[in-house]
């Protein structure tokens, strides 16, 4: 425990102390300028990493937020005579508000559309800054003086220290945010938006929040940028800067505060690298060497494809050769950025910090902080009284896809406290029915009632909020998160700490409680020992059980298990049955879709059989098994011609 704190916090403190101490010993205004820029870009890239690293979206609008923040602060000072804190506050607010406004429409989009939206936004911003001459001075630029901070006029060193302190502050706040349920939700979104919705964690809300926070940091850095250079031009915030910022985040390493700052250091140093021919040749040669080593190693242990090994070598090789042929490397600046970024994206996708962290963690084996003892199951899943009345009712439910009637007029009732089996041959409409109930699809017709009230239609999130949780036939785990975190993402009723307090680190206690509750659920499915393993590294059976634990974390009234035994080996099936029985004892109603008849017979109080989208039989497991229509549905008709 102490070793961990000492190493991690120690490294942070040491780095911070070193950086802060430099101006005391070195009196070089050029170096000081670079260091100040490093602190500002550090904040900027931490913000960019929220969308690029945590949300996993290609964000091409961050340079525009830097520009917006810079102009906001600049104008506050020149036009309104604001002091530094107020101006920076305005910058932060501008980023937050415009970020949220942009995110509202843009984040409904995925991948390319999102990148396009942010790209258009940044072009629109630069156009506006350029054309609104009466306000911004247009292409002429905006001249400003650095205002006083609480009556004190900061010199170069003073301003540098301010930037460093702010970087340290941002670092701490973001660390608190990203290690809380917010950070987990961001990452969950990236791995499976569908599951995030289905767990009742509003995908959309968290995405907008994440993007707004990242953008706010961007424009906050913009305010500092304005006070640093004291001269602004719209031209500084164009596309090229955006590519450099992405280079910083990707090269430094995504999803890492260290990575963002290391990336900032690299992009601050790059221009110097390019202006010195000798230095450039040394660095490109080093890059080539790294690419060759990484490529050969990757090929040897077959972890990379040939393209992944060869392409970076070709790219770095052309940097080396080009460096010899070209008279002025500055002219080829963009091409050099491009080739470097290409090599990193293809050859070293985890970035420098990812690489170094892996190396360091082999060097010092640091034990993770200990987990609390699991909570009592009663605290997590309060036992519900059994009452024999309908919990869920389907009335004439229909769902068509083009000419195919996947669910065709299905009516059934699921009684409270029952395990209700839903069976039928392949393509009989079981999964579609469940997808309609859980809100993935809107019904073509008919009604679904929970507790006698109509369920929200076509929204996984809203259905999850009223107490229906589900698992997926094709697993939808958050692969990059640990087993424990998978459960904690979905956990209901624990996270109450308001955001400002959480940022300041006051959520530790509820975090412990969440861990304890989640561990209890992992214990219920027999995975307490693997709490720290990444979900994608678990065995297939364990992944299935983890999905069940995660669904239980929603503390549902109704749990829908969509083919939980699919692909399981025989011993795992036995364990699955035991798990389902344990859940049933808590009084949770279960709909079980299952192919394995033995599982159905053993567990289900009542069974509905679907065929061709229609209900063909309903009753106890034994009854339906003898039902002639069911036998026919499963074995086919013996027809005579």
């Amino acid at each position: 425990m102490w070793k961990r704190l000492l190493l991690i916090r120690g490294a942070e403190l040491f780095a911070f102390g070193m950086l802060v101490a430099i101006p005391v010993f070195v009196n070089n205004s050029y170096a000081l300028g670079l260091l100040t820029l490093l602190a500002i870009y550090g904040i900027l890239l931490i913000g960019l990493d929220v969308s690029v690293g945590y949300l996993g979206q290609v964000n091409l609008g961050h340079a525009a937020f830097l520009g917006l923040g810079a102009y906001a602060s600049g104008l506050c000072v020149t036009l309104l005579g604001f002091g530094m804190p107020a101006a920076l506050g305005v910058s932060l607010l501008v980023g937050l508000v415009i970020g949220a406004l942009l995110a509202l429409p843009a984040l409904r989009l995925e991948g390319p559309q999102f990148a396009l939206a942010t790209l258009s936004f940044s072009a629109l911003t630069v156009t506006t800054l350029n054309e609104w001459e009466s306000l911004t001075g247009g292409a002429q630029g905006l001249q400003l003086d650095r205002p006083a901070l609480l009556g004190v006029h900061l010199g170069a060193a003073g301003f540098y220290w301010l930037c460093m302190i702010l970087l340290a502050l941002v670092w701490m706040l973001m660390r608190n945010l990203l290690s809380s349920h917010w950070g987990r939700a961001f990452e969950a979104l990236r791995d499976s938006p569908i599951a995030t919705d289905a767990m009742g964690v509003g995908t959309y809300r968290f995405k907008v929040a994440a993007f707004a926070i990242g953008s706010a940091l961007g424009s906050f850095a913009g305010g500092l940028y304005a006070f640093n250079f004291q001269y602004l031009q719209p031209h500084s915030f164009v596309y090229e800067l955006m590519v450099i910022l992405l280079l910083g985040v990707v090269l430094g390493g995504r999803k890492s505060l260290w990575g963002a700052v290391v990336g900032a250091a690299l992009i601050v140093l790059l221009p110097n690298l390019l202006s010195n021919r000798m230095l450039f040749q040394v660095f490109s040669a080093l890059g080539l060497l790294l690419a060759v080593v990484a490529g050969v190693r990757g090929m040897m242990n077959k972890s990379t494809r040939p393209f992944q090994a060869i392409a970076p070598i070709v790219a770095m090789g052309s940097l080396v050769v080009g460096g010899m042929l070209v008279a002025n490397t500055e002219d080829w600046r963009k091409a050099i950025f491009a080739l470097m970024l290409f090599s990193v994206v293809v050859g070293l996708p985890e970035g420098l910090m990812g690489f170094i962290t892996r190396f360091l963690s082999q060097l010092f084996s640091v034990a993770p902080p200990p987990l609390p003892a699991p909570a009592a199951l009663d605290e997590v899943l309060a036992a519900r009284p059994m009452q024999d009345k309908p919990l869920l009712e389907l009335r004439n439910l229909k769902r068509y896809f083009g000419g195919v009637k996947a669910v065709d007029d299905v009516s059934m009732a699921v009684h409270s406290g029952h395990i209700h089996g839903l069976i039928g041959p392949n393509g009989s409409g079981k999964s579609t029915a469940v997808n309609v109930i859980s809100g993935l699809y809107a019904p073509t017709g008919g009604q679904v009632l929970l507790h006698g009230k109509a369920l929200p239609e076509g929204s996984l999130y809203q259905v999850a909020r009223v107490g229906i949780a589900r698992t997926f036939q094709n697993l939808q785990l958050f692969g990059e998160l640990s087993a424990l975190d998978n459960v904690m993402v979905a956990l209901k009723g624990v996270y109450r700490c308001p955001l400002p307090l959480l940022l300041l680190g006051f959520a530790r206690r509820e975090e412990k409680r969440a861990q304890a509750q989640s561990l209890a659920l992992l214990e219920l499915v027999g995975l307490a020992q693997q709490a720290r393993s990444k979900a994608k590294d678990l065995t297939y059976g364990a992944q299935r059980f983890l999905e069940i634990a995660r669904a239980l974390a929603c503390k549902p009234d109704l749990l829908i298990l969509d083919e939980p035994a699919a692909g399981l080996a025989q011993p795992d099936v036995a364990q699955l049955i035991a798990i389902i029985k344990r859940i049933h004892q808590r009084g949770i109603t279960i709909i079980l879709i299952e192919h394995h008849m033995d599982v159905v017979s053993e567990l289900c109080d009542r069974v509905t059989v679907l065929d061709g989208g229609k209900v063909i039989a309903e009753g106890s497991a034994e009854e339906v098994k003898r039902h002639p229509l069911v036998i026919q549905a499963y074995l086919g008709v013996e027809h005579t011609e």
Binding site: G111, Q113, A117, Y239, F307, L341, F342, F401
Partner: protein, 290 residues
């Protein structure tokens, strides 16, 4: 009144070029759900290469196929170097990688041909002809004809040849297409080649009007993005309609608000379209699958 009509007509003719580039996005999007973010540089580089071909003294009717061939090769290169790996890994790395190749192309053009804009000679005269009091230059007409001809030919190819049908089959269902012996990888390559051809054609058509320079396509491409997104990435008919509309709109905006604002309508339209109809005005809603 006649001023407005004049603005609308010449703007709309320019909009045809946006439509053509947007059509190039649709070609690759339909087969692979990816687009080349460096498509603007492809337009620009093809125009530069065509200009160099003209300067070697090649007749115009040989320059055009030469420029188109270059566009196809560049499209194929982008697919191989930037897109294929990311698609195999089922990620969105291609966005960043195509952005990177765009930057590389831009830098190459800056250093090989210089940063200045240069005129692009053309055999088509640019003296306006008058129809009902509206001046239209033969150059503008040649742009419209060129755009429609290329789009028409690609559509004919898609509908009337078996390879074209295979193209549509891959868009509809990659796995099933594989079972027919249609290699999705090849078809995606083909779509990037076609997209390169379309971009090159756009470059050659627009160059006499805009002149040729490294930045000639940076504004063009933003508008093409807007057109593609507003129309929806799967509607060939839609891009023409939206292209005409946007061209006319921005021509009006630049006259009445100021020429610096000519990009604004497209960008605002794009953000609005994303907010209101994320799949585009002419697009189809997609079904989430688990």
């Amino acid at each position: 009144m006649s001023v407005i009509v004049q603005l609308v007509v010449s703007g709309a003719l320019m909009g045809m070029v946006y439509a053509l580039i947007a059509y190039g996005f649709q070609l690759t999007y339909s087969t692979s759900k990816s687009i080349n973010f460096g498509q603007g540089e492809l337009v620009m580089l093809s125009a530069f290469v065509s200009l160099s071909l003209i300067n070697t003294g090649l007749p115009y009717w040989l320059v055009v196929p030469g420029g188109l061939l270059f566009g196809v090769l560049l499209g194929l290169f982008v697919e191989r170097a930037a897109v294929r790996l990311a698609l195999e890994q089922k990620g969105e790395g291609w966005i960043l990688l195509t952005v990177i190749f765009g930057l590389l192309g831009f830098s190459a053009a800056e250093n090989i041909w210089g940063r200045d804009d240069r005129p692009f000679p053309t055999p088509v005269p640019s003296d306006p002809m008058h129809f009902f009091g509206i001046g239209i230059t033969p150059l503008e007409i040649s742009v419209a004809i060129g755009v429609l001809a290329v789009m028409g030919m690609v559509e004919l190819f898609k509908r009337k040849t078996l390879l074209g049908k295979a193209f549509e089959a891959v868009s509809a269902d990659r796995d099933a297409a594989g079972l027919m012996g249609v290699s999705a990888t090849r078809i995606i390559m083909l779509s990037y080649g076609l997209s390169g051809l379309v971009a090159a054609m756009a470059g050659i058509l627009v160059a006499p009007i805009t002149t040729v320079g490294p930045t000639m396509a940076s504004a063009l491409i933003l508008k093409a993005f807007s057109v593609a997104v507003v129309a929806g990435l799967d509607s060939g008919f839609g891009v023409v309609v939206v292209g005409l509309f946007l061209g006319a709109l921005e021509s009006l905006a630049s006259f009445y608000i100021g020429s610096g604002w000519r990009e604004a309508p497209g960008l605002i339209l794009l953000i609005m379209a994303l907010a209101l109809r994320p799949n585009g005005v002419f697009g189809k809603a997609s079904i989430r699958k688990v």
